[in-house]
Assembly symmetry: C2
Homo-oligomer: 214 residues x 2
DNA sequence: AACTTTGTTAACCAGATGGTTAAACTAATT
DNA sequence: AATTAGTTTAACCATCTGGTTAACAAAGTT
């Protein structure tokens, strides 16, 4: 009989505890900064058990990273696939991105940080192995259709996406720097982000409006 | 007689070589990922010499980080203090930021990454010790004056600054992710960034225009 | 009850890492 | 030539880190 990996109640509980702990530590300290001992402690187990469940640090990191990336991109995809007109979709997209980033700031920081830190194929490989890449094709079609119908100005989709991401995500990634440079506290920052949910879509959409013939 | 630290030609050369090497390694690997041995190798010297010139890893990192941050912010300040009207200043600001980020992408990645990684006071402290914080006061005054003169719409300066930084810097920080998700190569990315030098100021300025009374 | 599989632990290990020491080398000064 | 201050190195050390081993506990299986 083929040796099947049997999943018992106990093992599931333990594995989940480990993953939670690992996620926390990896997001705080990064792949290099995280210590297996710290993860074990946070999970309330022995270090050897970590290697029993996830053979190595790299493998454990891979699980955590992919799950983080997926969580981040899947919500985005929901909106991107949605059945709405372009303007509404942009609004929803920005709102979703800002909300997600603010509620879970570690994810974009973590994903972007780690993708930068390893120029090697490490991250690329694990990214390819998942279906977590966002799919802009529908959105792009909508943009093109709207442009041809004369509803919006013709724009390069790549640029538009960069604009949206930059306006939504950057403040969260650069939060420590922002707070420091602007001398603002937690509450003030949150208020700014809340305001951005309205501001950013407005900015993006107004940039798509066709200016009156001059 | 007071023991004065004498700076000979030789020591300056060596110190400079070390700093160059350390900058390279720290920016690539981060504070935790960088190894003193690797820095020593890159500088073509012995590891002990590293500790002779810069007592510890932390001290060496501090030097590198502050210099990076300063390089990043000082150019910004030049523009911010400049004697131009609001629109021109915004244009210059965006151009400067994009050019600087593209030519030296490791700096924003490094600075923002490290500021996120250490929630402890470490970075804050070393930041306070330098005069590298950008000064938006003049720019803010210009904005207010222009708003009162009815030239531009009234906006929250914090939001405007977040917009500019996000639109200019984010693409560089998220470059690996962008390239991966959009499936574009080096040349294409550079072309996009070049285009942004025109696109971003246009976007920002048009958002400041007062819409025709409706 | 005997046996097998799975889950868990303490103790251990080899290698790496930041940092130290003491000695040797260099070049200017006396 | 001797002194001195600054520079450079090889060898060393304590500690940490990811990972392993062997033994043990628990829970089924026969």
């Amino acid at each position: 009989m083929v040796k099947k990996e049997q999943v018992t109640d106990q093992s599931m509980v333990t594995e989940e505890r480990i993953l939670e702990a690992a996620t926390k530590v990896f997001r705080e300290k990064g792949r290099e900064g995280a210590r297996m001992q710290e993860i074990a402690d946070a999970a309330g187990i022995n270090k050897a058990l970590l290697h029993y469940y996830f053979r190595s640090k790299d493998l454990l990191f891979e699980r955590v990273f992919i799950e983080s990336a997926r969580l981040f991109f899947s919500r985005l995809n929901e909106v991107l696939q949605g059945n709405m007109d372009v303007f509404q979709k942009i609004t929803r997209l920005c709102e979703a991105y800002i909300t997600l980033s603010v509620e879970n700031p570690f994810i974009p920081v973590f994903v972007i940080g780690e993708m930068n830190r390893s120029q090697d194929i490490f991250i690329r490989n694990m990214f390819t192995a998942t279906q977590s890449r966002p799919d802009f094709s529908i959105f792009r079609q909508q943009l093109q259709a709207a442009a041809e119908a004369g509803i919006i100005r013709r724009v390069a989709p790549h640029q538009l996406i960069m604009n949206i991401l930059g306006l939504c995500i950057f403040p969260v990634i650069a939060k420590p720097m922002m707070q420091f440079n602007m001398g603002i506290g937690e509450g003030e920052f949150m208020a700014l982000m809340e305001e951005r949910k309205r501001l950013v879509p407005e900015l993006i959409i107004s940039s798509l409006k066709i200016e009156k013939s001059e």
